[in-house]
Structures are given as C-alpha cells and as structure tokens.
C-alpha cells in the first residue's frame, strides 16, 4: 500500500487530481476512524477529516518523504485534532455511545459477551488515560502504526513511546485487576 501511496503522491504532487482522489479513498477511512475515536462524534470527525486532507493538499510540496505517507497524514490529523480541541469548549461532553454500538456491527475477536464487555471496559479505561498516553495508545494500537511512526507523529522519541505504552498497559492492567476484585465498581 505504501508503494502505491508513494506513486499516487508523486502524481498528486505534479497536479494529478485523480491520484489525489485515489489517495483520499485509500486513507480517509483510517483518518476518519482515528479522529472519530478522539472527537467522539461523526460530525466533528468528518469536519476534522476534511480539514486534515485540505491541510495535506496545502502541505503537499513540503512532504520530504522521510516517513511513510500514512505517517505524514496521521501527523497532520493529530495536529488538526489538537487545534480543534484547543478551540473547543472544555465543557463539551464526549459521547460514549459509539463503543457500545460499534463492536456489535463489526467483526470482533470476542468469543462471548463477557469478553465483549471486558473489551468495552478496556476502551473506556483507555479514554481515562492522560492525553499523551491516550494519543500513543490510539496511534499504536487502534491505528496500527509502528513504534517509530507513532513516535514521529507525536514528535517524540521511540523510547518515549515505549515508556508511555508501558505506563498505559500498567494502568489498564491495574484497572482490570481492580475490576476483577470489585466487580460492583464497574463504571459501565
């Protein structure tokens, strides 16, 4: 995919709109999913996706090919999200309905309802992480970016990414252990 994206990118850089359109169809789902998980609703996610691609077209010439095109695009999306969150009213509550509806509509590895509930619980705990760790978890686990690309998107070292993931896993494991000991304290 990355080789195809590279070719499409080169054509788009020369002004080929068809290639740019192809790039959009290749990446818009992943970018939308990333922003949807962060923003909490479809409308904002769609707007942020549009802004992400608009900014990518503006910055097309500045892309230096030091990383994969998808990494570069995730970096733009990450900064678009940060700008949006700064302007956003801090009191706006995030919708959590998606976590309950999406797993049922998509193929999952869950074998029973208990596992599904555990997964939903885990996703909710991820949202409780602080922002840096949450962004790291989203990019690495949800978006399946390698450690190096995650580090590049966030603008930090790979070791920092590893550290944050370690911390996040410790947190999630601790919450899971606590939940097993006190099932009545479930938040969902």
């Amino acid at each position: 995919m990355s080789e195809t994206a590279e070719i499409l990118y080169q054509r788009a850089q020369k002004g080929d709109v068809a290639a740019a359109s192809e790039l959009v169809s290749l990446f818009y789902q992943r970018i939308f999913a990333y922003l949807r998980r962060l923003s909490g609703n479809d409308e904002d996610a769609a707007d942020l996706t549009q802004k992400t691609f608009a900014r990518s077209w503006q910055s097309l010439a500045s892309y230096q090919r030091r990383s994969a095109f998808s990494t570069w695009l995730h970096g733009i999306a990450y900064h678009v999200y940060l700008d949006w969150r700064r302007k956003r009213n801090p009191g706006d509550a995030r919708s959590d309905e998606w976590w309950e509806t999406q797993p049922a509509n998509s193929p999952t590895p869950y074998e029973n309802t208990a596992e599904r509930e555990s997964a939903l619980q885990l996703y909710q705990w991820v949202d409780e992480l602080d922002d840096e760790k949450k962004q790291t978890v989203h990019l690495h686990y949800y978006q399946n970016l390698p450690l190096s690309e995650t580090a590049e998107v966030l603008g930090v070292a790979v070791s920092t990414v590893k550290y944050r993931l370690r911390e996040a896993l410790d947190f999630l494991r601790a919450r899971s252990a606590a939940n097993e000991l006190h099932p009545e304290r479930k938040t969902i």
Binding site: A12, Q13, K14, G15, D16, V17, A20, S21, V24, S25, Y28, Q29, R30, F32, A33, R36, R37, D42, A45, A46, T49, Q50, F53, A54, W57, Q58, L60, A61, W98, Q102, P103, N105, S106, T108, P109, S118, A119, L122, Y123, V126, V137, Y141, Y142, N144, L169, L172, R173, S176
Partner: protein, 304 residues
Amino acid sequence: MNDTMIENILFHAPSPVAPPGLLKRLQAGIALPRTKSEPRAIGNWQNPLRRWFPALAFSVVLLSCAIMIAVQGNWSASLKQQNETLRAAAAGLPQLREQHAAFEKAQAQQDELAQLRKDNQEVHQLQAQVSQLQSLAGQVQRLQDENRRLISSLNAPAPSNGNATFFDEAQQRAERIQCCNNLKQLGLAMRIWAGDNDGKYPTSLVVMSNELSIAKILICPSDKARAPYATLGWSEFQDNMTSYDYLAQSDDERYPQCITAMCPIHHNYLFSDGSVQQINPEKVHEVKKGGRLYLEPINPNSTP
C-alpha cells in the same frame, strides 16, 4: 487480564465507519497547489541563467561603463585636438587682421579709383556735351538774327514804288514816329521807376503800371497782331503781350549805351540813358558784351 490480552484487545479495537458521502466531499475538496516542479522541468535552461544573472548583470554594467569611458575619452581627445587647432589658428590672428585691413584698404582704393575713372568719363562726356551745346547756341544765335531779319523784312513796308500812295508812306512814317514815342515814354517811365527804387531798372514791364499809365504805350502801332492788347487794363496785361523786346537789367543805369528795349519791326532802340534811336540794320548790328546788347557799326568807318 495480562498485557498480551490487553494488547490483543486494543489491536483489534473496532474501527468507526465513515459516514456515506464523506468520500465524495473529500474528493470534491481536493485543491492541489500549483506544482513548482513544472517550471523546473520546462525551464531547465533558466536555472543557469538565474544562477549567472547577477554576474551577467554586473558584467553588462561593467562593459557599459567601459564603453562609456572609451567613448568619452575619444570625445575628449578630439576636443583637445580641436582646441589645439583653434589655438594655433588664433596665434596668427593679428597678422591675419593686419592683412585683412590692408586688403580692405586696397579694395577701398580700388573702388575709389574705379569711381574716379567713372567720374572722369562723365566729365569727358559732359565736356563733349558742353562743346556741342555751345555750337548749338551759336547756331541758335544765328538763327535768331536771321529770324529777326526775316520778321523785319516781312513787316517792313513794301519798297515804295510807283504804286505806293503818299498816304501810305505818311501812315508808316507816323507809326514809326509813334513807336519812337512809345519807347521814349517807356524809357522815361523806367527812369522814374529807378528813381523810386534805388536807381535800379525794373526787369518787368507790368511793375511800371503807375509810371506808364496805359498799356497801349507797350504796343507798336505797326504790330497789328498785338493791337487788341492795347485796350487791356493792367490787371490783364502781361509782359509777353508787348510788341517790344524788353532787355533791361536792374543795373543797366550804369551802362548808358546798352540796349534796354527795341522794336523788332521798326528797329527803334531804347538805350539805358533813355535815348531812342532808329537805325538801319544793314549798317549796324547787335553785339553782346557782358550779358548786355550794344549796337556797333558793321563797317567801323560808317556811323549808324
């Protein structure tokens, strides 16, 4: 849950599906900036030009300055040469001025000489004309004398022959005597007039109207052509109407023998002293001396 399970769940987290229509909106919103690589591809030749433009511009300016300096140097050299030429020419200017003055002087003399030659020719021409006129004047004098003689012969009474009557001769004699009387009265009037005018005779007859009393005195009784003038008053009478030749000049009183008036018909002469003589034209003739007429005998031995 251990870390592996947690990571497995996280790696397989459900992915939200994009709403329908988002793809079209995104594709419609594609706004690719103008590619900057195209001019590079098209204008590879521009890169060296752009790279060398400052050097080329400086070289052009330098070359222009060099050309300007060369042109100005050439111009300056030519001006210097002209200046030296003019100075050299100005050095010989006083000598040229002297030569020019000498030339102008010589030219003026030449012009004057030419003018003198022309004047000389005119003088010669005038002298020739004068001599011609003098000869013509002599001819005129002779013609006048001849004319008078012819007139006197024409008006003279026919020589008496057997046909002439006694009365005709008496008439002619009476007219001749009357003519003498007229001249005497004219002479008397002249002397009276001179007495009133510092001894000078009048040069006109009309001015003696008071002394002459009537104009009839100035008409010869034998001059039938002028007989009508005898009745005119002094206001109408003019000098040329008289029958006599009035020759008086203002200072004639000092020349008593000069002729002051004469009758061309009867050859009666009035002299300056007031005397009147009737002469025979075959024995005397008129001679002009000092602008005055005198009578001299043709034959010096004979008396008039």
